[in-house]
């Protein structure tokens, strides 16, 4: 009985992104930047050092006109659970400072800025390029720092940052629920900024363990896939696409290999 109760509490927050609905408009990227005090520089066209916790990739099917096709794929941190959900995500396994950790309670991979000393080992380990390094101190033009949100700390030079599934929103929702005498939060009480903003409704977010949450059923779709599944990183971000070439683009296959 006691064990059952504690099991009920274990959450596995994840995302299901419908690539057939995604229009590549970029609202999720900016919602994320605005929510999380992400800095910007004069030139952001060098995408390797452009900090985008959520980045939209443009996929092409490689066929010539007029059979060409494109698809957009938003990529937040995949919050890998590792094989068997033991929390051995690639980045957590290598961090020498315990600056990134796997929460068994929520399934969220954290990034603790004050612990990070910038060795960038995690960046090398992450197969999704979801981690970014602050090569410079952030600079806001005069007056613009007024819009910075107190919910997320501003990062300094020399540390790594990445998508947190808007963890501060989870904390705020939980605080509110506790204050109102509830132990559990509702699905709509904790949504990431990108999910909330998406005009196409392409992103669903919730507890993958909870049958009442939309993501529970969505992830079971026959068109659902995850990125680089064969690495067994066990990501918590699922993608849905009706197009076979898009699903195949989610992993590396040999030319003649059947999926």
């Amino acid at each position: 009985m006691k064990e059952e109760q504690s099991k009920e509490k274990v959450k596995k927050f994840g995302m299901v992104i419908d690539l057939d609905k995604c229009t590549g408009c970029g609202a999720c990227m900016v919602a994320c930047m605005a929510e999380n005090n992400v800095p910007f520089k004069e030139d952001e066209s060098k995408k390797l050092d452009s900090i985008t916790w959520l980045r939209i990739y443009k996929l092409t099917n490689g066929k010539p006109f007029p059979d060409a096709d494109i698809c957009y794929l938003p990529r937040p941190c995949q919050h890998c659970g590792g094989k068997g959900e033991h929390g051995h995500s690639p980045c957590v396994s290598v961090c020498p400072a315990t600056a990134t950790d796997y929460s068994k309670e929520t399934g969220i991979v954290s990034q603790i800025y004050t612990r990070c000393f910038g060795c960038r080992y995690c960046m090398a380990a992450c197969p999704y390029h979801a981690r970014y390094f602050n090569w410079w101190d952030p600079v806001w033009p005069d007056g613009m720092e007024k819009y910075l949100s107190p919910n997320v700390s501003v990062r300094m030079r020399g540390i790594v940052e990445k998508c947190s599934f808007c963890f501060h929103r989870y904390q705020l929702a939980k605080d509110k629920a506790y204050f109102e005498g509830r132990r559990e939060i509702e699905e709509n009480e904790y949504q990431t900024a990108c999910t909330q903003a998406c005009p196409a409704g392409a992103i669903a977010f919730g507890d993958l363990n909870n049958p009442k949450h939309a993501v529970y059923e969505l992830k079971k779709s026959s068109n659902a896939f995850r990125l680089l599944e064969r690495l067994q990183t066990n990501p918590k971000v699922y993608y849905i696409s009706g197009r076979e070439w898009v699903r195949r683009a989610g992993d590396n296959y040999l030319k003649d290999e059947k999926k």
């Binding site: 408009c25 819009y147 107190p150």
Partner: protein
């Protein structure tokens, strides 16, 4: 021991070498790196009480409701308003970046008067009293000299109370020259007044439609009300609605459609007529509607059956006739098909013939004034304005021919020909002494920028009401900075493409950050300063008092809920002389109406075609792209300061270009250095370039990046209407 030179040097060098080999310098460098990390140049945002303010976004004509999160008196995040009829919680990236505009460095902080040459950027700060009395004096003098009609105003929109106040001011003052920035709305409004017989806005009940045939409209790229359109697109995925996209380039909309049909650019009208021909030949049209509610069908049918057979249409459009026939059948057999047009975001006016051809498809399938179809909303009547008093000067001035020629001569139907305005002023055909620029950036956004620049040089006094130091503001003589939308009250009317018009209320989320003034208040003050008789028509003591009065009973609801929808749907009436829907707008010479619009330039000197495209990530209207939005632009569009143009690999190979190679893009209007990006999704022979780049004004996050495509594209006058029908221009790529 004696320390000689040799000993000193060896000690020094030896010591330096020893130190370098020791861990000391590395340790010190490391420590300083770590300790400087902690220096207080990383801001720590102050905490406080969190509140939300409901308001409306005015950054584009979409009219979304927003909910702004505040911490104490700082606005920290803009989110979409849940339950708003336009966007219901969704929001686009421009709307999300609004706070970067509010707190950004490009704000004009106080009224400014030009000190140096125009465009030099030398200004002196003046007080509001000085600024207003200067404008009022200038206007008063002109009016006394009988030159009242030489005052003009270019506004981003003509809907809403502030543009109406400006228009009212010009009417009372004695000028007919209120102009709106060009867009496909001009064509839609013109087509509606001809086919439906009254001044109206085009509405689409797209969520309930089940087959959407789009002639190049960027359904998910900012056409109509952007967030609402993206939501509609998602809704079709649930409801099974089909979309077919006809355009020469694989846009995001084309990629997300059920079918993409590439077409020779500029020949969309011929496809629409070809489809109409098939529908008529196969008797697939709704006979009851066509016989009972339309007029001019026989004449229209006569033209399309003779001149736009599937074979003829194939020849013009480059689409196989089997495809045309199949598409016509699918369209006509669908339960609620709708055809829409306006390329990309609809930034160009387009030819009247093209719109009439598309509208004819809607009429053939009888999907007018019914669920899942198209509607005509009478022009906004939600504001109750008291009549104004026009004295003799005003009555005479307003009757004069407009500077852009709209409404007279060959252009009797047109309401706004703002592109033509630049041409007439430049050539001296129209004399303009004072120009007001409201919520628009004509010096950047109008096609053929060089002509616009020349025209502006001929206008002795330009007054900008811009909140931002944009291209037009820099080249003006006086800037009277408006509050930005997060600091002011304003009604936001949106009908574009909606199934019902919605009025939202923009509210001050924060107090004005700088010494700015509401443009509505400034008009009232100028009128007051001028005294009777102009002032008599502006009895309000402030803009907010005016807004409250003209909105009447709707004011309370707007303040409380943030929006108001017109419950009464438009009545299915046609007010044409026949009392029916007029095929082809009742034009006598149909061949002239449906004449092809050719791209400017000699095909021999310019073998390629340049077409602009629109992207949600690059704001191309009055607002320049804020830093967050620029950050989302792909490196295949903008790399450093270089613009990349999309070219088909076959075309690039023929010209000797590979991915990333530099080229000079030449058109009859100008040339620019660009980089080549190979894209399989574009028809061979075309060069595509995004709108919204190449700003010279704004901040370093935007200025100097890429090329302004408007500088390379000219205007092509539609003979039937005077509208600018250009969809591109002939071009050439030369090795750089």
């Amino acid at each position: 021991m004696k320390i000689d030179r040799r000993c000193f040097l060896s000690l020094g060098i030896g010591g330096a070498a020893g130190l370098a080999l020791s861990p000391i310098p590395w340790k010190l460098a490391d420590d300083s790196a770590i300790w400087t990390q902690m220096w207080p140049w990383t801001p720590v945002p102050a905490d406080g009480e969190t509140t939300y303010v409901k308001s409306a976004c005015t950054l584009c004509p979409g009219g979304c409701g927003i909910s702004v999160r505040k911490v104490d008196n700082r606005a920290v995040k803009i989110e979409g308003m849940e339950g708003h009829p336009v966007n219901d919680g969704g929001i686009c990236l421009l709307g999300l970046s609004g706070l970067q505009l509010l707190y950004g460095p490009t704000r004009v902080k106080t009224p400014l008067k030009r000190a140096g040459e125009r465009g030099e950027g030398k200004w002196v700060k003046i007080t509001w009293e000085e600024a207003i009395s200067e404008v009022a004096k200038k206007l008063g003098d002109l009016r006394e000299n009988g030159e009242s009609s030489s005052v003009a105003c270019i506004s981003g929109t003509d809907k809403g109370s502030v543009p109406t106040l400006f228009k009212r001011f010009l009417s009372v003052y004695g000028s007919p020259n209120f102009m709106r920035m060009p867009s496909v709305l001009d064509s839609y409004e013109l087509a509606l007044s001809l086919s439906f017989g009254f001044a109206a806005q085009q509405g689409f009940d797209l969520e309930k439609a089940d087959f959407i045939l789009s002639f190049g409209s960027g359904i998910i790229e900012g056409w109509g009300s952007p967030v609402r359109m993206i939501r509609a697109k998602s809704s079709w995925r649930e409801s099974g609605g089909k979309t077919v996209q006809v355009e020469p380039r694989l846009s995001n909309t084309a990629a997300k459609s059920d079918k993409w049909i590439p077409i020779n650019p500029g020949t969309e009208y011929a496809l629409a007529l070809g489809l109409a021909g098939v529908i008529i030949t196969k008797s697939l049209y709704r006979n009851d509607f066509v016989k009972g509610s339309t007029s001019g069908f026989d004449k229209f049918a006569g033209l399309v059956l003779s001149a736009y057979t599937p074979d003829a249409a194939e020849k013009i459009t480059g689409i196989k006739k089997e495809t045309i026939e199949a598409l016509a059948v699918d369209f006509a057999r669908a339960a609620k098909p709708v055809a829409i047009c306006g390329r990309g975001q609809g930034r160009a006016q387009g030819s009247l013939g093209e719109l009439m051809a598309v509208q004819a498809l809607n009429a053939l399938v009888g999907n007018i004034n019914k669920e899942g179809g198209i509607f005509a909303f009478p022009n906004p009547g939600y504001m109750a304005w008291p009549d104004y008093i026009a004295d003799d000067i005003a009555a005479e001035g307003i009757k004069k021919e407009r500077a852009d020629g709209a409404g007279s001569g060959n252009f009797g139907y047109a309401k706004n020909l703002t592109n033509r305005f630049a041409e007439t002023v430049k050539s001296g055909k129209a004399a303009v002494n004072v120009l007001f620029v409201l919520e628009s950036n004509p010096l950047y956004s109008l096609s053929d920028t060089n002509t616009v620049k020349e025209a502006f040089k001929k206008i002795p006094f330009i007054v900008s009401f811009s909140s931002f130091m944009d291209e037009t503001a820099i080249n003006s003589d006086l800037i009277l900075p408006n509050h930005v939308y997060l600091e002011r009250y304003e009604d936001v009317y949106v009908a574009t493409g909606l199934s019902k018009p919605v009025v939202s209320l923009s509210k001050p989320v924060v107090s004005p950050q700088f010494n700015t003034k509401h443009a509505g208040d400034v008009v009232l003050l100028i009128a007051k300063e001028m005294g009777s008789p102009v002032a008599d028509s502006f009895p309000w003591k402030s803009y907010s008092a005016c807004l409250e009065e003209i909105l009447g009973g709707k004011w309370d609801k707007l303040v409380r809920e943030g929006f108001w929808t017109d419950g009464a749907s438009s009545t299915p009436v046609f007010k044409t002389s026949s009392g029916k829907f007029e095929f082809a707008g009742g034009f006598i010479d149909l061949a002239a109406l449906f004449a092809p619009v050719n791209a400017e330039g000699d095909p021999k000197a310019y073998p390629l075609l340049l077409i602009p495209y629109d992207s949600m990530r690059i704001a191309s209207g009055y607002i320049g792209d804020p830093p967050f939005a620029v950050k989302t632009v792909e490196d295949t569009v903008l790399k450093g300061k270089d613009a990349l143009v999309e070219v088909n690999p076959a075309t690039a190979r023929a010209g000797g270009f590979s991915e990333g190679s530099y080229a000079i893009l030449k058109t009859p209007k100008g040339s620019a250095k660009v980089k080549v990006h190979l894209f399989d999704g574009i028809m061979p022979g075309l060069v595509a370039m995004p709108r919204g780049l190449g700003h010279t004004a704004y901040d370093n996050y935007l200025a100097g990046k890429g090329i302004n495509v408007n500088e390379l594209i000219g205007t092509v006058e539609d003979p039937a209407s005077g509208l600018d029908a250009a969809w591109g221009i002939r071009a050439n790529l030369i090795k750089a």
